[in-house]
């Protein structure tokens, strides 16, 4: 499979100059996505996954800056491009779906107006669209994402739609210009379980139909095998484990991945077992400061929460290494470093 | 609210810091002014009329030598003299106290009234106004009017009846009598609308013409006619806060309504009120200056900045300092308040202190 997106040694940190030892939000990240592949990026809130996603789009907020690294999208380094070129790529080649359907749509514009905006913004590309054609394509898009009565919905305002419907509109907007890569940042976290399932099905179906790649960001491991071909597990700005999603989920190596898996609620498992597991873990929430930021050279980032921690883990940080006998699996843990 | 954090924020925002410094200067000056110009034999006498020294420009020397040594700093009239030969500097010092106190007290009154009315309106919102509450309010209002027009005994009697009603309003039988079509919110907002219909300056003029002229009456009057803005701000914030979970949680814990309003909701609603209050101080000073300019303000010979302005209007070209100096001072005070107000709101907002 040809490579589409290749992030090399990406580091993102705070932009303020006052901080002498700059804390990192993302450190030395390597991530690859091939054509028509779907990759999941998993981690808890604050681990830097959303920041990675928006840095691909070049939308980092003012407080953060790219310290190092390159993001190759089809041989071009996105970080070296200017605003004008990035704007051309955004929406037409790489598009993004955000988490909060309630606030991602402009409440004073109709659905139709917002959909049309996507086309109009890229009008001065190779394809230019006429007014009639844009409207037809909008209706088709809404039909593709499963909204009933698409022609009437074009005139509707966002507050008339439910969360699931709004998220479908967001997907329609993302798919409008048939991008090569779609970044979905926790698209179903704010939705109910039934709607979540529908949205995931929709995403998968569209991805297959249009043969585009998908970067799916989530904190819920149970969704991963259904959505992603490969998975990256992230913690405190570092990749802790990566590999084919089914393999990682059925046979996890890193202690953090194991913890994430055990956190998935299973009503049929005996309660005593679960209680025991978490009784042993150190109470994570005791006065931990904003745990996004981590200073350099302090050993493995997961040491304070790890159940299998050894003295080595506090002294130095392990590298992300391939597992000898398994292809495509890499772990960052002293337990597996030979 | 941590004071140290607040001070740090203020120091960071140099504009607000500048405003705060200016304001503190004026505060210092006005307090100084009370000491320097008060009493029967003040150091700097604002009332002493020296006709032979009239209309002297700033930094002018006094004509007789003895006068210079005893009474004047540096032997000069620092800010000149007015048409009656009075020392403008002394008068400005005396006037500073008046302006500041009028500014603060009237804003204090208006903010207090505004918070209470806006808070009640925002918190009780859609509830039907109980018959008891309505009668109590009407009695209070009538009693107030009676008292202010010097029918004291009757007014106090009505106050007492209203108080009795308010105490017993929570009993089961009485509290269930309601008037179906009037909301607390609508009722209060219509009162606010009525008050807003009157152009405030004319309202003040009318009241000032009726009541005996004194500095206290002016403060009360300005306070009583400018609470509407605050009430609306508070009501708007309360309407939003009421739906927040922590208010519902406070209700569930069994906290009394008063406690919820003043301890939980009000500190969160105070932001726009603070900005409005700082602007209100500025505006109150201007109103007082305007009243004095028209001759309806603080009675002479007590100096206020407006007085000095008023006296100077006849001599605009001969002695422009009589107009410029008080005018410029008013502008500086108002400016310092405006600059400081915005920063104050940021200081009080806990989310920005993260």
């Amino acid at each position: 499979m040809k490579g589409l997106l290749d992030i090399k040694s990406l580091s993102i940190g705070l932009a303020s100059e006052r901080v002498r030892e700059r804390p990192f939000v993302v450190r030395d990240l390597n991530l690859k996505i091939s054509k028509a592949e779907s990759v999941c990026l998993v981690g808890e809130s604050g681990c830097g996954k959303s920041v990675t996603a928006i840095s691909i789009m070049g939308l980092l907020p003012k407080g953060l800056t790219i310290l190092n690294g390159q993001i190759f999208f089809e041989e071009t380094d996105l970080l070296s491009l200017g605003e004008k070129e990035l704007r051309r790529i955004r929406g037409s080649e790489i598009s993004m779906i955000f988490q909060e359907p309630m606030s991602s749509l402009n409440p004073v514009l109709t659905i139709g107006q917002q959909l049309k905006e996507v086309f109009l913004a890229h009008r001065d590309g190779e394809d230019t669209f006429g007014k009639r054609e844009i409207e037809d394509r909008c209706v088709e898009l809404l039909k593709d994402v499963g909204l009933p009565h698409p022609k009437e919905q074009l005139k509707a305002y966002p507050h008339m739609l439910s969360g699931g419907q709004r998220q479908r509109v967001m997907i329609a907007m993302a798919m409008a210009l048939s991008p090569k890569l779609i970044i979905a940042d926790e698209p179903t976290t704010a939705l109910d379980v039934t709607v979540q399932l529908q949205i995931l099905r929709l995403l998968k179906r569209l991805q297959k139909a249009k043969e585009c790649s998908l970067l799916f960001i989530t904190h819920d491991l149970s969704l991963v095998p259904h959505v992603g071909d490969r998975i990256y597990v992230m913690y405190k700005g570092r990749i802790m484990e990566e590999g084919p999603s089914k393999d990682v989920v059925l046979n996890p190596f890193h202690p953090y991945t194991k913890a994430l898996l055990s956190a998935i609620v299973d009503p049929e498992s005996p309660k005593a077992q679960r209680l025991a597991f978490f009784k042993e873990s150190p109470r994570l929430n005791l006065n931990t400061l904003n745990h996004t930021f981590e200073k350099k050279g302090c050993g493995c980032g997961y040491a304070e929460r790890c159940l299998s921690v050894q003295s080595k883990c506090w002294e130095s940080e392990p590298e992300l290494l391939d597992l000898l006998d398994l292809k495509g699996r890499r772990v960052r843990c002293w337990l597996y470093a030979v | 609210m941590k004071i140290s954090e607040g001070l740090r924020l203020i120091r960071g925002d140099w504009v607000g810091f500048l405003g705060l410094c200016l304001f503190l200067c004026f505060l210092g000056v006005s307090i100084l002014g009370i000491f320097l110009t008060g009493g029967p034999n003040p150091t700097l006498d604002p009332r002493k009329v020296r006709l032979h020294e009239k209309l002297k420009p700033p930094m002018a020397k006094a004509s007789s030598e003895t006068l210079a040594k005893e009474h004047l700093p540096f032997g000069r009239f620092i800010l000149g003299t007015d048409d009656l030969g009075r020392d403008v500097f002394a008068r400005m010092l005396q006037g500073a106290y008046v302006s500041m106190s009028v500014g603060f007290v009237s804003v204090g009154i208006s903010v207090l009234i505004g918070i209470i009315i806006g808070g009640i309106s925002g918190y009780y919102g859609d509830r039907n106004i109980g018959l008891i509450n309505l009668i109590a309010i009407l009695l209070l209002a009538v009693g107030f009017i009676l008292i202010s027009t010097s029918q004291i005994t009757l007014g106090l009697f009505l106050f007492l009846v209203a108080a009795l009603f308010l105490i017993f309003r929570k009993t089961k039988r009485l509290s269930q009598i309601e008037i179906g079509f009037i909301d607390v919110d609508s009722f209060i907002m219509r009162i606010v609308d009525i008050m807003l219909c009157f152009p405030s300056f004319f309202l003040i003029l009318t009241v000032v013409a009726i009541v005996p002229p004194s500095i206290y009456n002016i403060m009360i009057v300005i306070g009583l006619t400018s609470w509407m803005g605050t009430a609306r701000f508070v009501r708007a914030e309360f309407l939003a806060l009421r739906e927040l979970d922590f208010v519902k949680a406070a209700k569930l814990l069994g906290l009394s309504d008063m406690k919820i309003i003043f301890v939980h909701m009000l500190p969160n609603a105070i932001g726009p009120v603070l900005v409005s209050a700082t602007l209100g101080v500025a505006s109150a000073i201007l109103v007082e200056a305007g009243l004095s300019f028209l001759g309806l303000g603080v009675p002479p010979p007590h100096a206020t900045w407006g007085n000095i302005l008023a006296d100077g209007k006849n001599y605009l070209f001969d002695a422009p300092w009589l107009t410029f100096i008080p005018g410029f001072s008013i502008m500086l005070v108002v400016l310092s308040f405006n600059l400081f107000g915005e920063t104050l709101r940021d200081v009080v907002n806990p989310k920005l202190n993260a």
Partner: protein, 331 residues
């Protein structure tokens, strides 16, 4: 008869509770639309039981939770607490009784007053629980430890704590007045999976320690089934199915419950979950809340087993077997 084991005393019961919301059409509009948020709900909660209420957003479970907690009087029906009609009590008695029913809200960010420290909030709650002044500090510390927080966080403001920590403070506050009923409205929905698991385990721990009645509300069936003894499934203001949790989880009777169960992604499932019938998608589209007909099955528009007899008239909640109730003609 609503569910009752017989030997456990019923602490809280809802009888025929209805709540309507009027949509104002403006001053000049004569159109007055009414949304039925809760329709004729009758439930009973025995002492010490954990009752799980499942339903999607907009089904009325939050409204129901407010009615149960004493925040919202129902338009019809009664809330019976300790044998007395809660909303018919006098003002002072009502406030005292209501304290014994506590509610933990969904959003940990708005559940705490941003201007008050954690210590103040807890101590204020303890004072409402009639704890004498001398014991305040000690009790505050012990309650914070019991929810897994370090007592040094008493000096912190809410914005200095993480979402999980805030939720623990909210739970601690609710426990300060020693309630007998604790209603939790989606307390973990906005938290990460790891923190969710911790908070859920905290609930289990508290449940073992204090024998109080829990009412757990969520849209996620697996979380509800994990914690509860009895589950009630709610849809558009009505209870569609009710029964013991494991039984319901393994053998759902109502088509909606079956859909909820099928929506739970299981790890060992493979890609089968995502290959769906395209017609299924369109059928399950949500219609506007106020387009419902009152006199037929509320789930009709989304049901995959629907037929004409489902719209013929109102459907009753039938008792099936021991302790199960279902509202469906097909069962």
């Amino acid at each position: 008869m609503p569910f009752n084991d017989g030997y456990k005393e019923t602490i809280l019961a809802l009888e025929g509770v209805c709540k309507y919301f009027h949509l104002k059409g403006g001053y000049l509009s004569s159109k007055k639309q009414m949304v039925t948020a809760v329709k004729d709900v009758s439930l009973s909660f025995p002492k010490g039981i954990t009752y799980g209420l499942v339903g999607e957003s907009g089904c009325g479970k939050t409204t129901l939770s407010h009615i149960m907690a004493g925040l919202l009087p129902p338009d019809r029906g009664k809330v019976i607490f300790y044998g007395e009609d809660l909303y018919a009590l006098g003002y002072r008695e009502f406030k005292e009784r209501r304290k014994k029913i506590q509610l933990v809200f969904q959003d940990p960010y708005s559940s705490l007053n941003p201007r008050l420290t954690v210590g103040y909030v807890i101590k204020e709650a303890l004072r409402q629980g009639n704890v004498p002044k001398e014991e305040l500090e000690e009790r505050a510390q012990s309650i914070l430890i019991s929810v897994g927080l370090d007592p040094s966080c008493m000096k912190s403001y809410p914005h200095q704590l993480s979402g999980g920590q805030r939720q623990r403070v909210v739970i601690a506050r609710a426990l300060c007045v020693s309630p007998v009923v604790l209603i939790m409205d989606e307390p973990v929905s906005s938290l990460d999976v790891l923190i969710q698991a911790q908070i859920l385990d905290l609930f289990l721990e508290i449940k073992q320690r204090l024998q109080i009645t829990y009412i757990f509300i969520s849209h996620d069936l697996k979380i509800v089934a994990y914690l509860s003894d009895i589950i009630g499934v709610m849809f558009r203001g009505e209870i569609l199915e009710e029964g013991p949790s494991l039984e319901l989880y393994k053998n759902p009777l109502h088509p909606y419950t079956q859909l909820l169960l099928a929506s739970v992604p299981k790890i060992g499932d493979g890609k089968g979950l995502l290959e769906s019938d395209p017609m299924e998608e369109l059928k399950s589209e949500e219609k506007h809340i106020w387009e419902q007909d009152i006199n037929c099955c509320a789930y009709y528009h989304r049901c995959n087993k629907r037929s004409d007899e489902c719209v013929s008239g109102p459907i009753e909640l039938k008792v099936i077997g021991e302790n199960r109730r279902v509202r469906c003609i097909k069962v």
